[in-house]
Structure formats: C-alpha cells, structure tokens
Amino acid sequence: MAETRQYESNAAFEARLRKRITKLILFCTAVLVAVIFGFPMYFMGISAFKAESEILATPFRWLPERFVGLEHYARAFDLAPIGQWYLNSVFAATLQVSVAIFVGAMAGYGFAKFRFRGKRILFALILSIMAVPFQILLIPLFVLVRQFGWDDSYAGLIMPGIISAFGVFMMRQFAYAIPDELLDAARIDGAGEFRIFLLIALPLLAPAAASLAIILFLFSWNNFLWPLVVARDRALLTLPVGMTQFSQPYRGEPIVGPSMAVSMLATLPVALLFLFFQRYFIEGMMVSGIKG
C-alpha cells in the first residue's frame, strides 16, 4: 500500500517535472526566436542614437557608448527634404484612405443591399482586380497617367490608388450586416436613398471599417513601386522612395545613423497603429494578405 503511494507520487512528480522542463525548453526557444526576429528592429532604433563610428563596430553594443541624442535625426533633415517627403506620404495616405473608405462604402452598400442589372459582372470586375498584381499594370498605367499629363504630379502619385477594390470587397461584407428593416423604416419615413446611405448605412459601416482603414493606410504608406516611377521631382518623392537615398554614402562619407533615423521615422506611424489598434491591425493584415 505504502509502496504504491510512493510509486504514484513519484510518477506524479516526474510528470510535473517533465511538464516544467517542457515549458522551460519552450520558453528558451521562444526567447531565441523572438530575439532573432526582433533584433534588426532593435538595431535600427538603437543605432539612430549611436555615434556613426560606433554603429558598425563589433562586437555589437546593446546600448550606445556615447548617446548622441537626436543628432542623426537633425542630420537627416539637413541632408534631404524629409519633412516634405513625410508630408507627401501623409497627404497621399490621408486622401487615399478617406476616399477609398467613402467610395468603397458606397459601392459595397450598393452591391450588398440592392439588386440591379449587371451586378454580377460588375462585382466580378472588382474581384478580378484583386487577383491582378500591380506590376502587370505598371507600364500601361504609367503611359496612361502620362497621357493625362499627370506624370510628376500629385494627381499622378495619388489618383491611381485613390479607390481600392479590396476596400469595396470588404465594405460589401460589412454592409450585409446592416438590417434591411432599418433601411426600410427610413424609406417609409420618406428619407431619400442617398440620405439613408449617409445618415444610416455609413455610420453603421464606420466601426467595421477600422481594420480596413489601417490596411489601406499601410498600402499607401508603404507603397514603393508606383511613387518610384511616377515622381521624379525631388520635392514630390514619398518617404519610402526618398529614404533609399540614405542607403548610399553621402559624398563618400557614411550616413548610417541618419539612415536609421529616417527608417525610424518611416516606421513610427505604423508602430503607433500597431500599439493602439493591435487587434484591428492584425485582423486587417490577415484578411488582406498585405505583408505577403
């Protein structure tokens, strides 16, 4: 009897020990993985505060030997019109997100809540847009924008991305959730269709659009290829395109510190979105496949 109990508690102890060890191994593996994946971002952040000579020095120092404050940030603004590029990126993103949300909500609402002739084929058009990668359209779109006289202008930079097929698609999904009774009630009260959309449908769609807005912002903010080909005037560049000038030495002199500072500035809005709207951020990423 005593022996059995001894045996049982031994087994229980062993099981518990084994569980503990498994957890420890999992924890250590996760620390290793997280450090490997987090390191480049840490490197970027900390290098912006290190003296130029120290950034590339090995072995790597986790904290700067000499903390240079915002020196590299100031230098970056001296070397290039960062402020202008930042404003261009913000301007393009704001315009593209707001128009895409509004027009997308309209179209999504139209597709979800009305029956009309040609609806199927028009929706198939929207779906096919999502399947065609942008690189295929790069050349003809550039030729078209040039025909419009829009090359090297804000119109050329912003217009081709001002409405998003993905936005229409998502808004349609959201609009299905609007109860028909609500819309009919407004109709009986004599409200016009556009008023119903503005005053009833749009406010109902807005919260659902949070993750969509984040994704549309990322699309616009991170866009590289289109601004690269359409903007040649230095004052018209967006941040992602402009900042690549920092990956080359400036007059033979390395500017790694400023390049890390600019990288930080370019990542900052995205990091803030991630911190404050983590759930929407991740949700939006997953449905859009944007980071693939």
Binding site: F37, M106, L125, L141, G292
Partner: protein, 303 residues
Amino acid sequence: MINRLLLRDVSVIRRRQYWGLVFVLPAVLFFVVFFLYPLIIGFGLSLTDFTLLRPPVWVGLDNYINLLSDRLFLKSINVTLGYVFGSTVPTWILSLLAALLFYQKFPGREGLKLLFFSPLLPSVAVVSVIWVVLLHPSGILTHFIGPLVGKSSITWLHDLTLSPIVIVVARIWSVIPFYMLIWLAGLTAIPQELRDAALVDGANRRQSFLRVELPLLRPTAVFVMAVSTIAAFQGFTLQFIIAPNQGGPVDVNTTLGVVIWKYGFQFYRMGDAAAVSVVLFAFIMIVTGIQLKLGSSDRYSLQ
C-alpha cells in the same frame, strides 16, 4: 385599389434598385479607367515598339520572340524562380514551426510574441535600408558568421552567390511573422475535441498532429503557399534597393519585376517592358489556377 397600390410599390422598388447602380457607379467607372483600360492597353503595348518618344508601331509578336533570345530576360526567369523557391519553402516551414511554438502555453508568451511580430512594422523600403547596414562587409552579420569561415570581412552584397541568398534571408525574416499569424489562426480554428478524441483513441501528440491537425490545416496551407508564391514572383523592392546597381551584381538579383522597371524606366522600351509584364502575369495566373484547384479538390491531402 389594391392592384394600383401594388403596381405603385413595384415601381418604387424598381426605382430603388436603380440606386444600387448609382452607388456602385463611381467605383466601377474608376476601375474601368484605372484598371480595365490599362490592362487592355498593356496587352496592346506588348505588341508595339513604343518607347515614349515616338508613337507606337505595331510589331505583332516580335517583342515576345525577341524575349526568347534576350539574355537579361532569360536570366531573370532563373533569378525569379530561384528567389521564389528560395524564399517560399523555408518560409512555409519556419512560419509553421513558429506558429506551433507560440501555440503552446508557457510563461512570457504574449510578450515574446510581440517582439517576434516586430518585422510586421517596417515597409519593404525600411527593411531594405536596415539590411544594407546589417550586411555591411565588416558589420554585424560578418561578426557572427565570419569567424565560422575564418573571415573578418565578407562582401555579402557583391558576391555573386551570397547576394541572392542574403536577400532571401532578409525576405524570409520580414514575412515569417505574417505567415505565422495565418498558421496560428488555422491552428486555433481546429476544435480541441478533435485533438482530445485522437488522444483518447491512443494517438500520441505527434500522431495527433500529423494525422488530425495537419490535414485540417490544408486550406491554410494552400493559402500560405499561394500567397507567398504569388508575392515572391513579384519580388522587386528588396532587389532594387539592397542589391548593388538595381538587381546586381551582374544581374544575379534581376527578377522579372526589376526587368520590367529596367526596360520601362531605364531604357524606355515600353513595348518590351509590357511583354515581360504579360509573361509575369502568366506565371502568376498559373499559380492562382493551381491554388484554386488545390483549394477545392478533396483528393489532395498533405499526408
């Protein structure tokens, strides 16, 4: 009376349905101008010798025939396929392993997961600029790997063999957290009862994973494979910024995307660039087709 009311209702409903068209019209018109029309002139341009300087002249399939003996284009097909295989297969495996790791319960998991997610934040341009610094000949990567091969300076980016590899590494680093999220969502969607049932039936954890969870992850797997392959076929920004001379050295990083940019915006050979775009389109449509087939067929299994 009732009939007249009904008739009136029908016409009201009908009038209302026109509003659907009114609502979708702005978006549809936009896509006709900025998607459908360019798509069609893209095919058209690929049949001309357009250079932006003079009006396009019809050349039929000449551009395509010339591509068949175009060294840069042929090389870029190899480069692109190498990049696609090199960056996708490790991404699938490593992101699944990461998802399995963070699916387990252990202390500090949420905090470590956030750190692991940090590559989700930077744009590809930022990723490129960071990796240019990490890959400095006497920089941090050399510091770790150099001693293993007895070197104090490695020219990662100017080496014909190494530079495509390190670009793949940068790519894998930047996308794994995203695919891990997808796998994690797939794993979370598997009902716990199925795992329990397998364990009750005498399966061990490994068998339960291989026989129960992995087959149920099939739709997730098809999604991950397709999205990552399609994205890799469009590889451009990393090669453009990280590699020396846009896609160098000696064009070892010149993907199809880089060729489109070079022909279009360096040499202004819009016709050739459009033809390369059509080829890229064909590649991507093949992948999309395979995805649709795998996604809908019941016979396919990961086992």
